[in-house]
């Protein structure tokens, strides 16, 4: 990283830090540039011809929605950002994207909102200009704002037929008492329904978070670093730094195991979720990487539990673990779909037993080697085009603002021993950190108990 203090009016060609990449899990050379306003730019020239992937990661997600009744606003902005500025109406913006043959979309998670556009290299100037314009000059009139809130409700409704979505809603609402991870990125339904009445708050939200110090630009593809930075300086240097820092509520320690049941209105096989409070993302502490390894060792297709419940006994047809990296401590969750309602308690007990086994029994070294190899090759296989490189990088950039965190993380994975695994299991897989959810068709639910 290289900080500099040039005049905002100058076009600046930087002498950035170029990171060589021998024997690193992130194998590409990249450039890191910081503008005085706090904006960071990561440029990754690749050998894949013609295509450029531009990813803009804004460090605001549902985690930042700290006021009661205001959940879902980070995600709403993901929509509003396509609604135009004074200079370019939504129609003009769309027209320009269409002329560039661009694929453009966005997503919101707990910790970030990511805008991504993939296009031909000759359109880099045009796309960079359009992105800078909407990030700095978004202007959505109240009527369009209200219309867009209904599209968000439509999105909630299209998701609503999935029991897994409901499980996650229930899980978070049960497991978190103070922290904003209590709600999903969509937000609470009651808040979504009230969104049309909160136009003024939306202006405030934009004013807080759509700021250079919250934003990192990733450019991967058929580009030259100098050209990218010329355009960045031309279009983004005038963006004003903000001052808002959210006070994210700290989650108190969970002191007893929690559980809830969800009644599902239409026929479904029952679902079971077992969750433990885990650590936040770190590229320095072993906690999160060790638990990542356990989630694969313990609950992937190769795990003893999967082999038992899905392949041999055939009592469960879906089993997976989910432990997404988060800025703050989050949940390591295992979800199973059970073929017969009478096996719900058994499945839950088996999952808990599998977690507990890591406390008592060291992992065989051979298994640990296999999971490390799996992680390495899975990552290598995923970096096969410019868009994939930028897309894979975006979550890490949002957490630590540098690709280097990936190299540190994989070095940590390599260093984990069976003793580390056991130690972390003892630390995190305790009853008082556990939350369970059972979702079942409402008539069947009585039978489950």
């Amino acid at each position: 990283m290289r900080l500099f203090k040039p005049s905002l009016l100058l076009l600046i060609i930087l002498m950035p830090l170029t990171t060589p990449a021998q024997n690193k899990i992130f194998p590409f050379k990249y450039f890191t540039d910081d503008l005085p306003n706090g904006l960071r730019v990561i440029t990754i020239p690749t050998d894949y011809p013609n295509i450029v992937a531009l990813y803009l990661a804004v460090n605001t997600g549902s985690r930042n929605e700290i006021e009661p009744g205001k959940s879902g606003f980070a995600h709403l902005f993901e929509h509003l950002m396509f609604r135009g500025t004074e200079k370019f109406s939504a129609e003009a913006y769309n027209e320009a994207l269409k002329n560039a043959g661009a694929d453009s979309n966005a997503y919101t998670s707990d910790d970030r909102t990511v805008y991504h556009t993939v296009f031909s290299k000759e359109d880099l100037d045009q796309i960079m200009m359009l992105e800078a314009d909407r990030f700095q000059n978004l202007k959505v009139p109240v009527d369009l704002f209200k219309t867009e809130t209904r599209a968000v409700l439509g999105e909630y409704n299209k998701n609503a037929s999935s029991p897994v979505r409901k499980i996650y809603e229930a899980l978070r609402e049960t497991a978190f008492k103070s922290h904003t991870y209590q709600h999903t990125a969509m937000g609470f339904l009651r808040d979504i329904e009230n969104m049309p009445n909160l136009y003024d708050y939306s202006l405030e939200f934009f004013n807080r978070y759509y700021r250079p110090e919250y934003t990192t630009i990733i450019v991967a593809g058929d580009v030259k670093h100098e050209n990218v930075m010329q355009l960045v300086n031309k279009y983004w240097a005038g963006w004003k730094r903000g001052s808002y820092v959210p006070q994210i509520p700290k989650e108190p320690d969970q002191t007893k195991s929690l559980s809830t049941e969800v009644a599902w209105p239409t026929p479904t096989l029952p679902w079971v979720a077992v969750s433990f409070k885990g650590p936040a993302y770190s590229d320095e502490q072993k906690d999160k990487p060790a638990l990542d390894l356990i989630s694969s060792l313990g609950f992937s297709q190769t795990s003893d539990l999967y082999q038992k419940l899905v392949i041999k006994e055939q009592k469960v047809d879906t089993l997976f673990a989910d432990f997404e990296d988060h800025s703050d401590p989050y949940l390591l969750t295992v979800v199973a779909r059970v073929k017969d309602p009478k096996d719900v308690d058994y499945t839950k007990a088996e999952i808990i037993k599998a977690f507990e086994s890591y406390r008592t029994t060291p992992v065989p070294a051979q298994k640990l080697t296999a999971v490390k190899s799996n992680l390495k090759y899975a990552f290598a296989l995923s970096l096969d085009n410019s868009e994939a490189i930028a897309a894979n990088l975006a979550p890490y950039i949002s957490l630590k603002r540098t690709p280097e965190t990936l190299n540190k993380l994989y070095d940590l994975y390599a260093s984990i021993t069976p003793e580390d695994i056991q130690q972390m299991a003892k630390k995190y897989f305790v009853e008082s950190k556990r939350t369970t959810v059972v979702l079942a068709h409402k008539e069947k639910q009585n039978a489950v108990k």
Binding site: I51, N99, F145, L269, D322
Partner: protein
């Protein structure tokens, strides 16, 4: 793992899958061997396989619906003769790869990508699965149950949009070899036996039906090795014979309203078109599809009218080829080649109170497109978009391979070159002539998934105006247009309008 199930699961986990396997810059290669193959050698460290058989669920014998899909899953999700499924999973795990299958009406494909470091080991396992399957009873029981669960849970239970789309396809192809869900029906699956699987494999997994696709940094003479293995294990066979009648004629608007207790109302409609990728009119219809309803794009006409201006839902798209799992994908999967296709509009769930208005709006807009055609400006913009955007469809080595196999099936040149070349020669007149020739809004099959299905049916058939309900009033010209749409005449063929409980869909 089956590709479709993997996608359903991915959506369930709420993970955004980022990359398809593959890399590098490919060049078309010619096989020096007798077996039909598509080779795209390059210098990438990755090697991608696609074993494509020209047989699929349209070849399921009557009463054995689902056998093609179950046979494929017995190979991709079951053991080989020398390894149990458990052992295969354990062996694939350190390589972080797998060998997946996808079955459509006329194609079955097995696909996987490995790092060159692991090529020999990977090929040994995958070829064992494909050429020397284990067909064990415990795998069969598990996978047959999975297939039934897929129909009952993943489609009926958890995905109203795919449910509606698949129900519409079945209805359009009633009495036709395409007329059942690829996975089968609940009743047929319950009766299938492992002997049925063995028979289907023996009769259809033949050298004649196979096209080998290979891309990436594979060693010299690798394809010869594969050819030798294939010819020592699979019978030469004859090409699968499949006679496809024309789908039944649709008279007026025909509708299935699927009754389900669900918060939104999901709508799909469509009709057969006599155009596939082989047809000279296909590039013109591709352009129309992109203009009217480019998949998952905020730039298309329908999306603008229904979502952007009226806030009715999350998105609205149009298709000229089968595109399953669209809610999980930003670009279509390859190897879904068919000799018969439909034109389809997918309207994502709306609030039930706006259901009938939205159906009317979709048909009204289609009718307008047919009557007025496209403007020169829209033609120019859409052509510019597609000419560049087509590159994005084949950005990975694996997708290049998939598209190359499809181009061979349809008898066209390299997909991206073909599309760019034909788009360059297209005129507005060509496109508007193709619209008039192939599209219409009168004889259409509709599938609706909603609560209060009987009330929906009654309101639709009665034909009274169905005004839209707004949270925020749009401009006057939209309100004026709403007046036309809310009373847009729906000429239902009432004997072909039915309410179906969700539990009956895919049942038999």
């Amino acid at each position: 793992m089956q590709l479709s199930n993997r996608l359903a699961l991915m959506s369930a986990v709420l993970i955004i899958a980022v990359a398809a396997p593959g890399a590098g810059i490919a060049r078309a290669g010619k096989a020096s061997i007798s077996m039909t193959s598509v080779l795209l050698p390059n210098t990438s460290p990755l090697v991608s396989f696609r074993f494509l058989f020209n047989v699929g669920s349209a070849s399921d014998p009557k009463g054995k619906e689902g056998i093609a899909a179950l046979t494929a899953s017995m190979i991709s999700d079951g053991g080989s003769r020398s390894m149990s499924y458990d052992q295969i999973v354990q062996a694939m795990y350190p390589m972080a790869t797998g060998f997946a299958s996808q079955v459509d009406k006329e194609m079955t494909v097995f696909a996987g990508t490995t790092h060159r470091d692991n090529l020999q080991k990977y090929y040994e396992i995958a070829s064992g699965m494909l050429l020397d399957p284990g067909f064990r009873a415990d795998d069969f029981n598990r996978l047959r149950t999975d297939a039934i669960t897929f129909l009952k849970e993943s489609l009926r239970g958890n995905n109203d949009e795919e449910l509606g789309k698949e129900a519409m396809y079945i209805s359009i192809y009633d009495g036709h070899p395409y007329g059942h869900q690829n996975v089968g029906t609940v009743e047929s699956l319950e009766k299938l036996t492992i002997e049925d699987v063995k028979r289907f494999y023996r009769d259809n997994y033949t050298q004649t039906n196979l096209v080998l696709g290979l891309a990436g940094g594979f060693p010299k003479n690798f394809e010869e090795k594969i050819e030798a293995d294939v010819s020592s294990k699979l019978p030469a066979g004859t090409a699968s014979k499949l006679t496809l009648p024309q789908p039944q004629k649709i008279s007026g608007l025909e509708m299935q309203v699927i009754e389900k207790d669900t918060p939104g109302t999901a709508i799909s409609f469509g009709f057969p078109i006599a155009v596939t990728r082989s047809d000279p009119d296909w590039p013109a219809l591709l352009l129309v599809q992109s203009y009217f309803g480019q998949h998952r794009s905020s730039n298309s006409y329908l999306y603008q009218r229904l979502r952007q201006i009226r806030g009715l839902n999350y998105g609205d798209y149009a298709y000229i080829e089968y595109f399953p799992r669209g809610m999980f994908l930003l670009a279509p999967d390859s190897n879904l080649g068919r000799r018969q296709q439909i034109f389809q509009v997918w309207i994502r769930p709306v609030e039930p109170k706006n259901g009938l208005f939205t159906l009317r709006a979709g048909l009204y807009e289609l009718n307008k497109l047919v009557k007025n055609g496209m403007s020169q400006e829209d033609f120019d913009t859409t052509r510019r978009f597609l000419t560049k955007n087509v590159n994005a469809l084949t950005k990975t080595q694996d997708s290049q391979l998939g598209y190359a196999l499809d181009s061979k099936y349809y008898g066209i040149t390299t997909f991206t070159d073909y599309v760019r070349d034909r788009l360059g020669k297209l005129t507005l007149d060509d496109v508007n002539r193709a619209i008039k020739k192939h599209l219409q809004a009168e004889n259409v099959k509709i599938a609706v998934v909603t609560k209060d299905a009987a009330a929906f049916k009654q309101a639709a058939v009665e034909g009274k105006p169905s005004p839209i309900s707004y949270t925020s009033m749009p401009p006057k010209e939209i309100l004026d247009e709403d007046k036309i749409i809310e009373a847009y005449k729906l000429n239902f063929n009432t004997k072909n309008v039915e309410v179906i409980p969700v539990a009956q869909v895919f049942q038999k």
